[in-house]
């Protein structure tokens, strides 16, 4: 295992006899934005914890920035940043104090941290708010501060656990823009998400996990091209079940979820033609995306 900034081989972890991570091999190269996708309970967060050396694996090997984990996890973490799933900023501190106190955990000198603060605040869109109390910040601002805090040690690699969950579209787009800046600077990102749109936009490469195992791996575009037909037609309305019977002859794959029928095909023109005169049915025609791949591979059933 070398050349990769993060590599795992045969990673396994069980909790109370239930296998949460079942033999995962990962290789993340420097400068990549690597995605871990999967439904709730797929093992994403556990994999991050294992890679950071916060939980011991039952089997397998991990190498993070050239250091074996968990044996040398502390040295590895000195060059890593973490954006946790739930913000755990210090509510008693100001914006700047949050950065200073966190920098001390890396053994950084006060002068060193203070010199970095203006750039970190600018990056987080919090310039001029150094002395702001935490409870005056919006959810998006707190998330950006968490991101800035993860960069206080100028890490080579940043782990992000669902970085935009719970944010409004404006806040989410701003975070995406900032994350792209990081990869342009040559930093490596490893993020978990269940927003396919996020993964499709950000990730150069990703794996889809289900029940602790990798079920697909590749770039978003390659995954879409390799796993699913190019076009999707979503149809719903009264009498859709009857229409579906006919649609099966016109599309290689037709699925029904509740009152909606999903038709996947390279060419949907015959399907649209078949909808003519069916005024009670409404339809949406769109190109296939990562979410379609995800649902095909992990199923449509609820997981929690």
């Amino acid at each position: 295992m070398s050349a990769a900034v993060l590599a795992t081989r045969g990673l396994r972890k069980s909790y109370a006899g239930v296998e949460v991570v079942g033999g995962v091999d990962l290789r993340v190269a420097q400068g990549e934005c690597f995605g871990l996708l999967g439904p709730n309970g797929a093992g994403k967060t556990t994999i991050l914890r294992l890679c950071l050396g916060l939980t011991d694996a039952d089997g397998g090997e991990i190498e993070l920035l050239g250091k074996p984990v968990p044996q040398h996890a502390r040295e590895a973490r000195a060059r890593v940043g973490v954006v946790p799933q739930f913000d755990n900023l210090d509510p008693d501190f100001t914006v700047a104090e949050n950065l200073v106190v966190f920098g001390r955990y890396f053994g950084l000198a006060a002068r060193e941290i203070e010199a970095r603060i203006p750039a970190l605040l600018e990056y987080a869109g919090l310039a001029g708010r150094a002395r702001a109390k935490l409870n005056t910040l919006s959810g998006g601002m707190k998330r950006r501060l968490t991101l800035a805090r993860a960069l206080v040690n100028d890490p080579s690699l940043v782990f992000m656990d669902e970085p935009t969950t719970g944010l409004d579209p404006q806040a989410r787009h701003l975070i995406w823009e900032r994350l792209r800046r990081l990869t342009q600077e040559g930093k490596t990102l490893v993020l978990t998400t269940h927003f396919m749109e996020e993964a499709e936009r950000l990730c150069s490469r990703l794996v889809i996990l289900d029940r602790g195992c990798i079920v697909a791996e590749g770039s978003p575009r390659a995954l879409i091209a390799g796993h699913i037909e190019a076009q999707v037609l979503e149809v719903h309305g009264p009498g859709v079940a009857q229409w579906m019977a006919g649609a099966r002859r016109l599309a290689p794959r037709v699925e029904r979820a509740g009152d909606t029928v999903f038709c996947y095909a390279e060419d949907v023109a015959p399907l649209i033609a078949a909808l003519r005169g069916q005024d009670e049915l409404t339809y949406l025609h769109r190109p296939a995306n990562l979410e379609d791949v995800f649902l095909k591979l992990t199923g449509r059933d609820l997981r929690d």
Partner: protein, 262 residues
């Protein structure tokens, strides 16, 4: 977690200072209500009982009851300050605010965090004991050199109860959990440790129980020191107290490891 790792001796590094400094920075912002909360209660008790009961009781073991009680309260105020910090405040940081999780993402270990919290809670206990000593000295019930001689003992009491508190904290499911420890352990301990009255007047069986309690040993050192009666017996009490502190810290580390391995 494998048993070997769970029970391994803690590896300590100076990085715990960063955790101590974090708590210190928060405390500086909330210092006044914190000092009031830590001190008002024992001082009201001391003056109320010391003067009130003292008027009825007269002398106790050759000193005024106020002086007798004051020495006991140095021990119990220290015990409670260290306990509250390592129970409620540490639990807030560990469980509610997830501050410990944030720290663990940095190059910090669980031992660093527990050691930092231990040192911090002991510091707050030391401050509470120091405040009691200041008041006692100001009212002329102890001389400055004697009060200074009692300070290391106060720190030892603080370390003991901070470590015991962190062990309980590692088992806690919520704030209510601490009532068990406070009512079932600390309140009886305060009664049996010679804070209010001499243990020697109790039945032999109860005295045997008292001799096993850490606060008993703490008070047994502080009281003679403040009265200017140092002796070799004090060292034996100090060794018991130190053993309690070290074992309790080890237990706190093991229990916290178990909590965080899940």
């Amino acid at each position: 977690m494998p048993r070997v790792k769970l029970f391994a001796p803690p590896v300590l590094s100076l990085r715990f200072v960063a955790v101590w400094r974090r708590n210190w920075l928060v405390w500086r912002k909330l210092a006044i209500p914190s000092i009031l909360g830590n001190l008002a209660d024992p001082l009201i008790m001391l003056f109320g009982l010391g003067y009130g009961l003292g008027a009825v009781l007269g002398n106790m073991q050759g000193t005024s009851y106020f002086a007798y009680l004051a020495a006991g309260f140095v021990g119990s105020a220290t015990m409670y300050a260290g306990t509250f910090e390592s129970l409620f405040s540490a639990f807030s940081r560990m469980h509610v605010q997830k501050t410990w999780d944030a720290i663990l993402n940095a190059p910090m270990t669980l031992e660093d965090v527990v050691a930092g919290e231990w040192a911090w809670a002991a510091t707050k206990a030391l401050a509470a004991g120091l405040c009691m000593l200041l008041v006692i000295t100001a009212f002329g019930y102890a001389s400055v050199p004697r009060a200074l001689a009692a300070l290391p003992v106060v720190l030892l009491i603080g370390l003991t109860f901070a470590a015991l508190g962190l062990a309980i904290n590692a088992l806690a499911t919520g704030y209510d959990f601490f009532s068990y420890y406070l009512t079932l352990v600390l309140t009886p301990m305060m009664m049996l440790s010679g804070v209010f009255f001499p243990v020697e007047r109790l039945p032999a069986a109860v005295q045997a129980v008292a001799a096993a309690l850490p606060l008993y040993h703490g008070v047994a050192i502080v009281r003679p020191l403040l009265a200017g009666q140092g002796s070799g017996a004090l060292l034996r009490h100090a060794i018991v107290l130190a053993a309690y502190a070290i074992v309790a810290f080890y237990v706190a580390v093991v229990l916290t490891r178990r909590r965080f391995s899940g």
